[in-house]
């Protein structure tokens, strides 16, 4: 049995008090490498969220398969242990919402997350009903963020979401797109509507958002969630067999997951990237991108050039 010295006791009491006073500060010190993690403020309120979140497209749609539900719960547990909070889903993703709900139940983690989902129905009158269904599936009282999925019936849904926000039924509202589609229409919505968040596709190869949407988000104080950071996994298939550049360490990059994710979250307009995975090991790698040095502007240019040459 370990003897408890007076010095150890005092340090322990001090750290416990610090943990109670500032769980995030304490969490930052308990991570690999003892490095502070990167969080970003939501422009409309200043509230901070970790720069790496978790997507659930494909990965959490496992139906009633208890073995896979348990496995995805371990992925979720790893995400939370590494200080992740932002979880994004959609009614479009099959059983993913139920699997998230089962995982949160098992981990008792409903109050440790920033819950984000989407409204995905062409019926503009079903906004509240679908949000309530998603709340029930996640096992939460309300969402932190509700987004109109892929601009589907966005006028009707956004009008209702604004009402819900005013009533306190949701904290933030937004709109999403993916695969680089409908950027012009999204830009028009961003210019005219009071959005807290937009969600769009951005990665080291798909950089169309840099031209208009990301600058517009900064100009309009809109937080940006980035989906498909690995281009649906194809970035790994294309580049994983290649060596990292010799200067990767200087940019704070230790593996390809960090390379792709740090490129994204180092863009000044990006609030959070939401990679999806089915693997605990990959989740650990993804969350590693939230720690340590981030590439600067010139290093970001070198990263884009490096993959372009490959």
């Amino acid at each position: 049995m370990l003897e408890l010295s007076r010095r150890r006791f005092l340090i322990g009491v001090g750290l416990s008090g610090l943990a109670v006073a500032s769980p995030r500060l304490m969490a930052a010190g308990s991570t690999p490498g003892e490095q502070a993690f990167h969080s970003r403020p939501i422009p409309s309120t200043g509230e901070s969220v970790p720069a790496i979140g978790m997507g659930t497209w494909i990965t959490f749609n496992v139906g009633g398969d208890q073995y896979l539900i348990d496995q995805r719960t371990r992925v979720l547990e790893t995400f939370l242990e590494r200080n992740g909070t932002v979880i994004d889903c959609s009614p479009m993703y099959g059983s993913a919402a139920d699997v998230i709900g089962a995982g949160l139940d098992k981990l008792g983690a409903h109050d440790r997350i920033f819950a984000a989902t989407k409204i995905w129905t062409s019926d503009g009158s079903e906004t509240r009903e679908q949000a309530a269904t998603s709340e029930r599936r996640w096992g939460i009282d309300r969402f932190d963020l509700l987004q109109v999925h892929n601009l589907l019936a966005w006028q009707e849904h956004l009008a209702t979401l604004k009402e819900m926000k005013a009533e306190g039924r949701v904290r933030y509202i937004g709109i999403s797109t993916s695969h680089g589609r409908r950027h012009r229409e999204l830009a028009r919505v961003m210019e005219t509507e009071p959005l807290d968040f937009v969600q769009l596709t951005y990665n080291v190869l798909d950089r169309e958002s840099e031209e208009r949407l990301l600058p517009l988000a900064r100009e309009r104080d809109i937080a940006v969630i980035v989906n498909r950071p690995f281009q649906g996994g194809s970035l790994f298939r294309r580049f994983q067999s290649e060596p990292l550049p010799s200067w990767a360490g200087e940019a704070g990059v230790g593996n390809w997951a960090e390379f792709f994710l740090k490129f994204i979250i180092s863009h000044p307009a990006v609030t959070c990237a939401i990679p999806a995975t089915t693997s605990v090991e990959h989740m650990q790698e993804n969350m590693g991108a939230m720690y340590g040095q981030l590439p600067d502007a010139s290093q970001r240019r070198m990263m884009a050039e490096y993959v372009r040459q490959l």
């Binding site: 496992v62 139906g63 398969d65 479009m92 059983s95």
Partner: protein, 235 residues
């Protein structure tokens, strides 16, 4: 969304689950229904024996077994197991149930003439060999795609019966198998589970076999309704 926007999507964009989830469906349904699941392949094995009888009652029974197989894989595999991860599967599942009920209601029109030997052999080959395609993708004997539960095997085998029907019933019965063949082939391609493409390929091959070696009832009249020619007069 305009047509150009739809064209920018790839097949993978429409598949919301991974190959592991899909392949485990076979293992899960087999483990959950063990040992009762053995009734389905057994029924599949004896079906051609009934189908080859001259009397109408066994042939009715053959079609009823085929109908139960469609209901089984429609409700159990497609609605209960596959539907939660892929919503179009639920629609297909209920359509399979309706088609199964239709087969049960066909009664005497079920099999207008006994199954020929090549069709029976094709049937047995289909239900004995095709189940192993899913095991080739997921090396686990629990993943066998069994007749009466797995739609790929069930559809591939039963098109041999549907092609035997008189028009327009034949084409009515073939609509769903062909739709499923197209849908499942696209899904397997998007998932990268290329061994499973053997199911739609086998379905089309067996359909060709059925049409080539098993001419339509208009060309081969039922033995019970044939009018004896001069050379076949009874004494």
């Amino acid at each position: 969304m305009n047509g150009a926007a739809w064209l920018s999507y790839s097949l993978q964009d429409f598949v919301m689950f991974g190959p592991e989830v899909f392949l485990r469906l076979f293992a899960r349904i087999n483990q959950d229904l063990w040992p009762w699941l053995l009734l389905w392949p057994l029924a599949g094995l004896v079906l051609p024996w009934f189908g080859r009888q001259a009397a109408e009652l066994p042939r009715r029974l053959a079609m009823a077994l085929a109908g139960l197989a469609w209901i089984g894989c429609g409700y159990l595999f497609l609605v209960r197991y596959y539907g939660p991860v892929n919503w179009p599967a639920t629609g297909f599942g209920w359509a399979f149930v309706v088609q199964g009920l239709l087969l049960l209601l066909l009664k005497g029109r079920a099999l207008p003439a006994p199954m020929t030997r090549p069709v029976a052999v094709s049937w047995w080959l289909a239900i004995l060999l095709l189940p192993w395609l899913s095991v080739l993708e997921m090396p686990d004997v629990w993943a066998l795609a069994l007749f009466g539960l797995a739609p790929g095997v069930t559809v591939a085998a039963t098109v041999l019966l549907f092609a035997r029907q008189p028009s327009p019933l034949r084409w009515l019965l073939l609509v769903l198998p062909l739709a499923w063949t197209l849908f499942s082939a696209a899904t397997y391609w998007a998932l990268g589970t290329f061994w499973l493409l053997g199911f739609p390929v086998a379905t089309l091959a067996l359909l060709v076999v059925a049409f080539r070696v098993n001419p339509s009832p208009e060309q081969t009249p039922d033995s019970q309704s044939v009018r004896p020619g001069p050379g076949r007069q009874s004494p």
